[in-house]
């Protein structure tokens, strides 16, 4: 297993957002983490990426304990991530944004430039390389976020809602990009709350609910799991009740 998480727990004050989660990510797969809002999938994701230091538990990456290491160590070890709301370096050009990532493996500017150009080409951003990053729209920024992470030459790419907020055509283009990256041999972990997308993309899906894993398996297995249905359905029922209450109140 490339990533082995055991008993990962994350508490904020008295609130337990992630409760003793075990998860394996096999090398070369696309693993999807799904669950309703507030299920703990994003918190767990941030533990994986090193943005949060888990309150308890162990995370091994390629056989090495990484829980509690800094985000920069995660990157150096070969874990790259994107953010749900892109953290674009707006003062820099699109190409320079990618350069920042490329410098992790290439000290010299010329080498980094070459590596970045390759990534820009691959992610379809080559045409905008000289534009200011602030000129990009949401889809462009999300793509740049992926390109930048890719430039760090990771073993595993962690995508945080890379598709949220995109139009249908943009989602298709993004899915193509993710598949393409996957084909080049990079393991992918993706968090999404849009189920349809993840089911078509992922090899294996893990479903979170109330901070725990309630189901794991192939997309087909998971969608057939009554617990998953209940979690999502219960949620929508609850929402309907709320709306009714608001309307009458």
């Amino acid at each position: 297993m490339l990533i082995e998480a055991r008993g990962v727990t994350m508490r904020f004050g008295g609130f337990t957002a992630v409760d003793a989660v075990d998860l394996d990510v096999a090398e070369g797969r696309i693993t999807g983490l799904i669950g309703p809002n507030g299920a703990g999938k994003s918190t767990f994701f941030n533990c994986l990426a090193g943005d949060y230091r888990p309150s308890a538990g162990s995370i091994r990456f390629a056989g090495r304990e990484i829980a509690g290491l800094t985000p920069e160590s995660h990157a150096r070890l070969g874990m790259a991530r994107t953010y749900q709301v892109p953290h674009t370096f707006t003062d820099m050009s699109v190409g320079d944004n990618v350069m920042v990532g490329a410098f992790l493996r290439h000290r010299r500017t010329a080498d980094a430039r070459r590596a970045a150009d390759a990534v820009l080409e691959r992610t379809g951003l080559a045409g905008q390389a000289r534009h200011r990053a602030s000129s990009l729209g949401t889809a462009g920024r999300k793509r740049l976020e992926i390109a930048r992470a890719l430039a760090t030459e990771p073993k595993v790419l962690l995508l945080d809602e890379a598709l949220a907020g995109l139009t249908a055509t943009e989602i298709q283009a993004a899915i193509t990009l993710v598949r393409d990256i996957h084909r080049s041999g990079i393991t992918i972990v993706i968090v999404e709350h849009i189920m349809e997308v993840i089911l078509s993309l992922a090899d294996r899906v893990t479903v979170f609910h109330h901070g725990r894993i309630i189901s794991q398996g192939t997309p087909g297995e998971v969608t057939g799991d009554p617990k998953v249905v209940e979690a999502y359905l219960g949620r929508s029922l609850e929402r309907q009740r709320q709306r009714a209450a608001e309307a009458s109140g």
Partner: protein
């Protein structure tokens, strides 16, 4: 085109004082370059890395006092104190950088203000540093190494050389990994870390470099002016001036601080010469008013405005 402009600028800088002479104007030109050095040094941490320090004057003071102490304690030419001043500044930067660079945004800025004020008060009570009275350089030059000249021209060329060196270094840094990393840190520390940048360490490097160059400016100041006391050497106003010059020209750009200095120093010296004698305060009404107008109409600095025209044409 850009290269042509640069070549012309360098040519003008070299021959300017020979053509357009007058002792006072030569001095204004030399002072402009001196402040450009300080502001460009500030720019390394404040502009590129986006860590807005309003305490940089303590590094300037390290340089100025280092040079003064070399003379007052050991009878050396002041410039011999340059390594001492730079060393002290870099060391101080390392010491204060570790705790303060963790702070975000305005809290970092306020911490630097507090540190600078704290050090100013302490300096005023240290006898070796001349306490409140201050320290002076050699009143009458003993040898050419005292670098004490009647004309400002030698200073002009000395400062020009130092500034050129600093800008060359900055130019190189801008294109190296460090430059990219600093700008990434300015953009988003969180994203920078996720891309494998050891943010704390790079900020500290930037602060130490910036402190070292600021100390060079301080030492050169003492060599030229020949006197330093707590207010002129460690007073908060100088920190603000460095920041204002960089911001006015364009913080985080290679030539921004120089352009800011080219505007502000002559403006200050000449408005003081024309209006200061009235004693009515009009000098600063004009000076403050112009800064205000530039900020309101060109928040990104003069260079952003020029870049805008450039793109349009």
């Amino acid at each position: 085109m850009a290269r042509f402009v640069l070549a012309v600028a360098i040519a003008i800088a070299l021959v300017f004082p020979l053509v357009f002479s007058g002792a006072f104007y030569e001095r204004v030109a030399a002072l402009t370059l001196l402040y450009a050095i300080a502001a460009s040094a500030w720019n390394l941490i404040g502009g590129y890395a986006g860590q807005v320090s309003v305490g940089h004057v303590v590094f300037f003071g390290c340089g100025a006092y280092g040079a003064a102490v070399a003379y007052s304690e050991w009878g050396l030419p002041p410039i011999a104190g340059l390594p001492l001043g730079v060393g002290a500044a870099v060391l101080l930067a390392a010491l204060v950088g570790v705790p303060t660079l963790r702070l975000s945004g305005h809290y970092f800025t306020m911490a630097t203000v507090a540190l600078a004020e704290l050090i100013r008060i302490l300096v005023g009570n240290v006898p070796v540093l001349g306490a409140a009275v201050g320290l002076m350089g050699p009143a009458v030059p003993r040898s050419v190494w005292d670098l004490s000249f009647t004309s400002s021209l030698p200073y002009y060329y000395l400062f020009l050389a130092v500034l050129a060196g600093l800008l060359l270094f900055t130019w190189w840094m801008e294109r190296s990994r460090m430059g990219f990393y600093l700008r990434a840190i300015k953009g988003s520390e969180r994203a920078a870390r996720s891309l494998g940048i050891p943010v704390g360490r790079y900020k500290l490097y930037a602060l130490m470099l910036s402190a070292g160059f600021t100390a060079v400016a301080g030492a050169l100041y003492l060599v030229m002016v020949g006197f330093v006391d707590p207010d002129s050497g460690v007073g908060i106003l100088l920190s603000v001036k460095m920041l204002i010059m960089a911001a006015l020209g364009g913080a985080g750009t290679l030539f921004g601080p120089l352009i800011g200095a080219l505007i502000l120093v002559p403006l200050e010296e000449i408005s003081n010469s024309l209006l200061g004698g009235q004693g009515s305060g009009v000098t600063f009404v004009v000076y403050g008013g112009i800064i205000l107008l530039i900020a309101v109409f060109q928040p990104g600095g003069i260079l952003a405005m020029v870049a805008g025209w450039w793109r349009k044409s």
